[in-house]
Symmetry: C2
Subunit: 317 residues, 2 copies
């Protein structure tokens, strides 16, 4: 019991009250610190056997992710009444799902990427078989981790189930996986504007939106609050993907830790390819403004979420 109280204290971080770039970067770094500590705990075992699969899981989990999605989940859960400690298993589950999707996306049969965040991709480091299984293992471990919430008396079992179901839906075939299939199918094709928006909504948007909504659901938020977080998540998620597309054209390879101009080389359908760079940037800004306005400035957590949306569009990596 003593340890728990101690840990809870450690998880308290101080927010900057300004919405400035420096402030939000510091906030995110502080959140990433506590998320990383929990991720290490959740992917570790007393007896790590067979060792190679644990090494592969940890390698990708700690390959330099920004922890945007779990940070968003923690903030929305806190805005709705849970502590960071309460929501941490769900937050880490989201990051594990994000990481598994990157491992599988990079495979030779998929995007065939050698580098990710400046490091060799999982299959380049461990071979294809272990990379496939490390991805599978992280998706499984995501749900195992999420279910840890059931030992927490402050969270109602029905809220855990609703929140986990929301996450499974967003990462499944109607969400992220559907987006990945559309992405593969759109290569070398000119797709319609509607199809492009569906692709992005599913591929990146669904998991970002779910991160925010899952936090609120876990805390048992009512329909009004859920709607607010849902609008925020949807707009911020799409703004994130448009910015990603823009950075693939204009970004610095070194800062991003991956090849740029990959999308054009693969003839992928992106916002800049369909709308042009300028119009794409304007769309991202408009979506960000919408996300911020959905959050309002009611408390430090929703303010932090609005800051993150601004940060997403303004980033250069």
């Amino acid at each position: 019991m003593k340890t728990k109280v101690k840990r809870k204290k450690k998880m308290r971080i101080n927010y900057s009250k300004s919405g400035k770039r420096g402030g939000v970067e510091k906030q995110l770094a502080a959140l990433a610190g506590i998320i990383d500590r929990s991720l290490l705990e959740y992917v570790s075992e007393k007896k790590e056997y067979p060792p190679v699969i644990y090494r592969a899981m940890k390698y990708s989990i700690f390959a330099g992710g920004k922890r945007l999605r779990p940070a968003m989940l923690l903030l929305s859960a806190k805005a709705c009444g849970l502590s960071f400690t309460d929501a941490m298993p769900a937050a880490c589950a989201v990051e594990m799902i994000h990481t598994y999707s990157l491992i599988h996306d990079d495979l030779p049969a998929m995007d065939d990427d050698d580098m990710r965040r400046g490091k060799p991709t999982s299959h380049r480091k461990f071979g294809e078989a272990v990379a496939i299984l490390a991805g599978d293992a992280l998706l499984n471990r995501a749900f195992e981790t999420f279910f840890r919430c059931r030992f927490n008396k402050r969270i109602k079992p029905e809220n855990i189930l609703a929140s986990a179901a929301c996450l499974a839906g967003a990462s499944g075939v109607n969400g992220m996986i559907g987006g990945q299939v559309l992405d593969i199918n759109s290569e070398n094709k000119r797709i319609s504007r509607d199809a492009l928006s569906v692709l992005h909504e599913k591929k990146t948007g669904a998991l970002i939106k779910a991160s925010v909504v899952c936090g609120a659901m876990l805390a048992g938020a009512g329909p009004g609050a859920l709607k607010k977080f849902s609008v925020y998540g949807e707009k911020a998620g799409l703004a994130f993907q448009i910015t990603d597309d823009i950075l693939d054209v204009t970004g610095d390879e070194k800062k991003m830790g991956k090849k740029v101009n990959k999308d054009a080389a693969a003839f992928k359908s992106t916002y800049p390819a369909v709308y042009g760079l300028e119009r794409s940037a304007a769309m991202a800004r408009e979506l960000t403004a919408g996300a911020c306005s959905a959050m309002g400035k009611t408390d430090s957590n929703t303010r932090a979420l609005a800051d993150i949306a601004l940060f997403i569009t303004g980033r250069n990596f």
Copy 2:
């Protein structure tokens, strides 16, 4: 409401009271029939978009599985007080996890199999990228499906969480995935008897054991009953794998729908390779007897489970 009552009625099947081979095969076929109907419902959507991923999911789900695992889950749940209808989402979740693991196991980077149950494997039919994603999609859909139990007032949310956590643990890195890694690592090596038993316990045993235990957990069974189902599941699971190993040496390629002598060709560590055929068969029989005695003959459902254990060791496919 009317539809539900109707469906529940349809799900009632008549058991044969004999433990004879014909009886258990009929029972399994009847259970497979109701499981198939639900599986089709759970992997279908009103709007199946993108269509190829749904085609790939359904192709592997309906490639001729015997539905042993979900049948075991339904029977243990019913023995502990739930109806087949109540336990069906959990049963179908187990089958989806089993199917996803087969799709990924068959991939070129893993076992590199062209045929499964007499049909081309998923990557031979749809290409590697779609096969990887169809596996991912089924693992995701498994949890989405399991969470459907939350709409059932007869199942306590905490029982759903405990049961789903048990399944996630068994299919994860400490269970099935760990076993797959050990399997890959054991190729071309002579492994110890202990290592062989751990490999099989994880690779096949864990999911079979979990199927039985999850059903009991979902029904809120007490520690005594859980222990009983756990012993049964462990022994039946290992007997299943030893029989699989034996059939790889002695089986009929046509009946099994896959190549035989694959293990020896890949220098895999199997029971016949380590203990010889005769001793392996004796071990399988001994485990089956243990599984049957754990079940006792208290009701028609536990009797059916005992019959399934006998059937597993006696099958020739």
